[in-house]
Amino acid sequence: MNEDTDIIRSQRRPGRGAFITYVTGYLLSLYLTLTSYLLVTRHMGTAWTMVWLIVGLALVQFWVQLMFFLHLGQETRPRWRLLIFSFMTLVVLILVFGSLWIMTNLNYRMMGSPEKIKQYMQSQVGL
């Protein structure tokens, strides 16, 4: 019986592993942040190449912080936290890309600017 209690107690006390996890997460995040910052400020390529690179680096850092700081990977089954996280990701993607899609489409149908609409209207007057 005592042994069981000891095991439970020892599970609740974090060891060196937990400390190393935080240090690794911090150093990786630091490295990723500085890399994307330097890529942008030193103009290491065309703007759109840089956009894809920094978005990639941001997603990697997102993953690093989820695993090392928010401990999403250490969850035991059933993985409810992962489930609701996945649902959140789905809602976020629909919200962000859906808005961009609709607004770009709207912009296209509005012909980009009021001046262009005016031009079009004027060209149609003769009809």
Binding site: M1, D4, A18, Y22, Y26, L30, S36, Q65, L70, M88
Partner: protein, 207 residues
């Protein structure tokens, strides 16, 4: 071991398991809140993504963002997230003095971050580039300001927790609350990764 002692030990263990299950439930509930907050930020990000070209003759991001300043803010927040995590580890070790030191550092770093952000907002407004200037600036102030508001609430929570830790002892309940606070703080740093990349870095690239 006598039978009586064994019964007490079993009772103890059962109690322990129940308490841990309750604590897990609280953590899960808080996680659900954080995920819904992500959806709030997503709608603000979407607004920003749609409006960021609408400068209405005013300045674009490239003209007003001071990149070294923003990098300093980012590093302050990232470091505070790290010290906050270490603070929870020391709380789980029941090291009260270290908890106060680490959360104290987190509080200072977080307050410096908020101070820098407010001074950035103030300089923008004084230069005539407040949220009333253009669609871009409205969405910028709303997105970054909402994050700043979360930081302010986090700092207040942290200050209250520190006073309570200082006065009382590190009970299981206190450790649980500190864990929730650290989840909140890490979450804010995660949101900041995207603000840093999408608002500031992409703004500096002019896309």
């Amino acid at each position: 071991m006598s039978q009586e002692a064994e019964a007490i030990a079993i009772e103890h263990l059962r109690h322990d398991t129940e308490r841990r299950a309750a604590s897990e439930k609280t953590l899960f509930g808080f996680w659900v809140y954080l995920m819904t907050d992500c959806v709030l930020f997503a709608s603000l990000f979407a607004t920003y993504a749609v409006l960021h070209h609408n400068t209405f003759g005013g300045p674009s991001g490239k003209q007003i963002f001071d990149m070294p300043y923003v990098l300093t803010e980012t590093l302050l927040l990232l470091t505070s997230s790290f010290t906050c995590g270490l603070g929870v580890l020391s709380a789980r070790r029941r090291d009260k003095r270290l908890v106060l030191v680490l959360f104290g550092i987190t509080l200072l770093l977080g307050a410096s971050f908020l101070g820098m952000e407010l001074s950035e907002f103030r300089n923008l407004a004084l230069a005539g580039n407040s949220w009333r200037r253009s669609g871009f600036l409205s969405s910028y102030f709303t997105l970054v300001g909402t994050h700043g508001l979360h930081i302010a609430i986090g700092l207040l929570w942290m200050a209250v927790m520190m006073v309570r830790v200082k006065r009382g002892h590190l009970s299981d309940n206190m450790v649980k609350r500190l864990t929730l606070l650290s989840l909140f703080w890490h979450f804010l740093d995660v949101i900041w990764i995207f603000i840093f990349t999408i608002v500031y870095l992409m703004g500096a690239l002019g896309v």
